[in-house]
Symmetry: C2
Subunit: 238 residues, 2 copies
DNA sequence: CGTGTCAGCTTTGTATGCAAGATGGAAATA
DNA sequence: TATTTCCATCTTGCATACAAAGCTGACACG
């Protein structure tokens, strides 16, 4: 009669708070996630932290360097392209397979676009990064397939990390326009067109990245030697 | 100079051998995966087993019933539909985003279809189940996006579990024909058509399932009360 | 001044121990 | 006989202990 499939609440909170930290652009790529550090922070033993880390690792959000530590991933240029490519595949298929836009979805998206406009007016760049990514998750939520939502959420987390690494200049209004085009097409039931706009939008965002820029001057050497990331002392703020 | 990103080999083997057991239809849905059981089987401590289980859980392949045990998932009818829906989205988008079929891919697919024909001739149903699922992973591999490959592999594992639960009669030749149509379209560079055929094929397979059939008569009640699965004593054969 | 070595500290990897919860069956009761 | 209670047993949840390996910095040496 109660909740089925009870999972221990803290376990999820550890995972979720790190993911949400990334989704809200508070945790930077390369951030070190020390086990005992997090253990004291969440007031649990290292065991639980490790479990959360392993889950996050299979989701592609953190990496472990054996005997050295856990780090938030710093996607390489190649990985960044793969992430965008995967998103193109999924979002295109998602929109093409939609048949109609329910009223709740319409409201959700138009509210979201209003938020984007507001953040642009206020010039809140961090908030914009979050909103720009969230738009795509919203669409998946409207489509209603939870599996796709989860996949896209993890890809979005990685996208944000990529933006933090490679986004030199932030074309917020261009992105916003892209979202508006997608929404407009959805609104009139042209999901085929919306899908095309989505691919086009993702291409624009991807070409807006400076994939030759490296996180730090030594990064090229570092990654080619598969050494650990740079931000050694960066702690999870809070 | 050697391998970067070294992960402890056994860890992966535990996970991989369970997944491959499912992909080859040797492990049935609902199979109990006892921690100490697996620990002695793989000759490691429970800790490692638990880690592997948690990874598999985030991949949607096993579930834990608190204090009762780990079980290979038994997808409900609703979950089955979500899996097929997600696959339609991904495979459609995948084919639509392909631009050409490399020679290696062409050979891989035609070899695969030959294998399918052979298995059909021999009437090897288990092998057919595996091959039918594998075809779709092959396509993702040819497209070359590892993220999509991984996602699709996990969805395929679930698909096989679904087939084992709900597939009353097995229309192998129908599936094979579907694959041939997709391949033929790809061969002439008509990826748009291939994408349509893929969706159509997945629809056929899905409607071929008897989603009203329950694994066991009490399953509906059992799952609605979120009780543990049925095959209590089923051990992982070795 | 630069380089190599080593000790001590820190961090992860793995096993083990113990507690809490769930199950199944025996025993007691009506 | 049918039903309920309770205990022995099993399984997971979580924490802790210890081992292995990496890092840092001091010190010695060229």
């Amino acid at each position: 009669m109660q909740d089925g499939n009870t999972q221990q609440p803290t376990q999820i909170n550890i995972e979720a708070s790190i993911v949400s930290g990334i989704l809200s652009a508070r945790i930077r790529p390369g951030t070190r996630l020390g086990e005992s550090q997090l253990a004291t922070l969440f007031d649990v033993s290292r065991t639980r932290i490790r479990e959360a880390m392993m889950r996050l690792e299979t989701r592609g959000i953190v990496t472990v360097f054996p005997r050295r530590g856990w780090y938030v991933v710093e996607p390489s240029a190649e990985e960044a392209m793969k992430v965008y490519s995967a998103r193109r595949v999924i979002e295109f298929g998602l929109l093409r397979n939609m048949s109609h836009l329910p009223d709740a979805g319409l409201k959700m998206l138009s509210d979201h676009l209003a938020e984007e406009r507001q953040a642009m007016a206020e010039g809140d760049r961090q908030r914009l990064t979050v909103l720009m990514a969230d738009f795509h998750i919203r669409i998946a939520e409207i489509a209603g397939n939870e599996i796709i939502v989860e996949t896209l959420r993890d890809l979005t987390a990685r996208t944000i990390l990529i933006s933090m690494l490679y986004q030199s200049d932030f074309h917020a209004s261009q992105s916003h326009d892209g979202h508006c085009r997608i929404f407009a097409a959805m609104q009139v039931g042209d999901f085929s067109g919306a899908a095309e706009y989505a691919v086009q939008h993702l291409n624009e965002v991807e070409t807006g990245l400076d994939l030759t820029r490296r996180p730090d001057p030594l990064a090229a050497l570092r990654t080619s030697l598969s050494l650990p990331p740079s931000n050694w002392k960066t702690k999870k703020e809070q």
